[in-house]
Symmetry: C3
Subunit: 358 residues, 3 copies
């Protein structure tokens, strides 16, 4: 008797990218024999997602597994977020990230209260984030916030009693973006999930950008440092003498993964298995597109099977002539975003049971 509804939804599942490598969630699920680390996910119930340091490798893999399940199954019928309201509070506007979260919520039958551009709203009257947090307690069940101020998380948490998902806080972090990046890598090469990955499957990561001032890059590296059995080396390629920044100094020093810093992209490019590129740095309270000294295009000296990640939006640093190549993992990376955000929301809102899990 569900045929109409199923037919209705049939078109919408399994969204995929238009160009570049396509990544199957099935390979990732098969690698762990369809098992999902429900214990690791259950620990996220009611938790805020603020900073990648709160995760460990096991949790990152568990979220990727749940995302793969959501990507491979048609779960709208389960309505896992039915009755839940997510507040997308974008005090710094971002079409892409906001819609990605809102699509995640709507596809699972949740509802959305949207603040598309908080800078023009109540803030102009001087309302504090702490008071806004108090309001949000009565308006919704989870708050997804982007804010230009790195300190915003402490401020809103003074009164907020709902889980908070950090969708970018100034030059701070962007934890769900990093989960999306790793979801792409784990679908691409499921062996990276393993605590001890076979030697020939280990990857040399190169990062073009400055983690110190780029929150997405910083969060990506923070997760990379957890994959000690899978990442054989990290090379930071930056025009700055010290691109690392305060937050990562200690984690990098303590990591068994060798980290090198260079300003010569040409020298290392041909050695990299994964190239992570970004160009948008957060400086004070505004964006700046860094000089694209390290522009990638189809003529770049890449290993034949090297893959490129980019959190997008891009500028000159990543040429469109790479889009049609197999180096392009960034479109597949983007195509996984909604499912990762769904996984995070299902775990945080304790709705695993609606999927027959937990």
């Amino acid at each position: 008797m569900l045929s109409t509804k199923q037919k209705n939804n049939a078109l919408t599942a399994h969204a995929t990218n238009s160009k570049g490598q396509r990544l199957s969630p099935i390979r990732l699920l098969d690698y762990t024999h369809g098992k999902i680390d429900e214990e690791a996910l259950a620990a996220l119930a009611g938790q805020s997602i603020l900073n990648p340091r709160q995760f460990d490798r096991r949790t990152v893999v568990a979220i990727a597994q749940l995302a793969a399940l959501l990507e491979s199954r048609n779960v709208e019928m389960d309505k896992p977020l039915d009755g839940k309201i997510a507040i997308t509070a974008f005090f710094e506007a971002s079409t892409r990230t906001r819609l990605s979260f809102e699509s995640a919520v709507l596809r699972l039958d949740g509802k959305v209260l949207s603040v598309p551009d908080g800078q023009v709203t109540g803030i102009a009257k001087g309302e504090s984030l702490a008071d806004i947090g108090e309001m949000f307690n009565t308006y919704g069940d989870v708050v997804i916030m982007r804010h230009p101020d790195t300190d915003c998380l402490d401020e809103i948490s003074k009164n907020l009693e709902r889980p908070l998902i950090n969708a970018g806080n100034g030059s701070g972090h962007h934890p769900t973006q990093a989960l999306i990046d790793w979801y792409a890598l784990l679908k691409w090469r499921p062996e990276l999930c393993s605590p001890i990955c076979p030697e020939e499957k280990k990857v040399h990561l190169g990062i073009i950008g400055t983690p110190g001032s780029m929150r997405a890059v910083k969060s990506f590296v923070r997760l990379a440092l957890m994959f000690t059995g899978a990442v054989k080396k990290i090379t930071l390629i930056s025009e700055l003498a010290d691109p690392v920044g305060l937050d990562l100094t200690e984690p990098i020093e303590e990591s068994p993964i060798p980290i090198e810093i260079t300003n010569d992209a040409q020298e290392v490019l041909s050695q990299l298995d994964v190239v992570y590129v970004n160009s948008i740095a957060f400086l004070g309270d505004s964006y700046r597109n860094l000089d694209a000294r390290y522009k990638l295009d189809a003529s770049s000296n890449l290993k034949p099977d090297a893959v490129i990640l980019h959190p997008l939006a891009r500028n000159d640093e990543l040429s469109e002539d790479l889009d049609e190549t197999d180096h392009n993992l960034y479109f597949a990376q983007a195509a996984g975003a909604v499912f990762v955000r769904q996984a995070v929301l299902v775990a945080v809102l304790d709705r695993m049971s609606a999927l027959g899990l937990g």
Copy 2:
């Protein structure tokens, strides 16, 4: 067979404030033995809510009773606003008020068409409010409008045939905010509902602010004047010689409640049972934060059991060091907002029957 859904919703009901006094809707319902003045609510069906002068004490109490019912019961299952579309047309942006209305609608299974910041939209092309009203007839079932222009209500009503809820019109009124204020007071002291409140339960209200230029304050006072058996005195505390303004002059003159005006807060503060504070005045077409000459903080000379109301957003006039005290009724006041707006929408859209009422 509804267990999954019920479990799903269980988390979301009964939102409450993080700090300060918490107010139970049950006490208010018990005071009237669970009876709700359905006749008073039925009279609101299809009506616009424009100005508090359209209410009387009985209607204010009836709305508070319905809000209390909605706050104490898990009514999502009844889907009282199913099939209804509310248009939130904020031609003056306000995160807080807009989300409060939208949350009210979504929680009752209605749908929302949102204009988060009308100043950047069609108006730029010179479209008149009258023509916008004509459009709204076909787009939704109720229009919730905030607008910087005090005359906006007449203008949009030229063609609009749907109920209109005034969510703030320039220096005019903000009737649902005043209903929210009184909902907090009636939960706090249910005896205030009575036409003749026992003498020891009557309250001396102090208002720090200028009703003449502050729409929320003006609307609050307008309702206060209806509670002749409950309010023993009103003291307006303002730096202005005449803070009353045109709209309230006659109602105040005709009221049996003694009204006094002072610019010396210290003198009267210790006598007040309820202190209503606000700082945002509407001057011409812009906001101004008035000088906080009358700043309240934990060292203010308040009666031990005095309570403070504030429509929020606040500035310096109300110190955060009061948040943790029992003087803080303003967080409980804010926590009731969604339920009052739900009550108004259910009554105006004639959906009492969905709750088994009317």
Copy 3:
């Protein structure tokens, strides 16, 4: 057992205009004996709606028939857009058009991801429309876009694999507005549907405005040229020597319908059966309200039974003193907008079966 729901929805169907002529969808349906050209509609499944030249008369009539069915029936119960997400991407803000589309989606139980003002969002970071199109593939099922740049359609289509509905592209086209205009005309005089309309029912169309720089006017004329058996003459009234513009030159030259151009409105006004007025021209990247040299008001020398169309928003060119007259077809025209957009969405998203069609 559906009585509650039906009662619930009963209020909301059959929206109509507050003033001017009211148009019944029943007359249009009766004219074709309740038959709907399902074949013509089926051909739209999965298609983008970019430019009126992609239509023919038969398709325009079929869309009008489906709109009339949707306007005359209470179809919310069929939930034809259940499980579908529409992205309303307004990179040029427009309250009216955005809400019209969003209302169409919500009334049919679809969901909406809204970009109310794209100019303040991600674009600021330099994201290309092509990359945004790639993102949209995973966020929703259909994209409704308005953009100030005439070339935007090619750009976003580079990667977008979902149907795209053009809601206005710079000085390009606005195809759904033209369908709305014709829906009003076909309801007003159903005989215009016919390939060969009786002579006494044929219309002389006058257009006050410059199709070359006014996208809505241009799209309206483009459709008018398809109704060769119904339109006996088109008169363009413009202050410009060549108001036609590049896009329409060839279609006008090839059309059997006589077209004349004049700058003397007074001379021809009294001969027109239908007067189409607009005042907003798109010049480069901004709007301009053209001089209202050809202002219409209640004293204009109109034929007694002439009707006026206007896509609204209006300025001085169309006086409010016409609103109460039977010349006012523009309010009825506006009242049909939601139903035409519903028809387009149902056809494009291949959901005719939910209505028992196709």
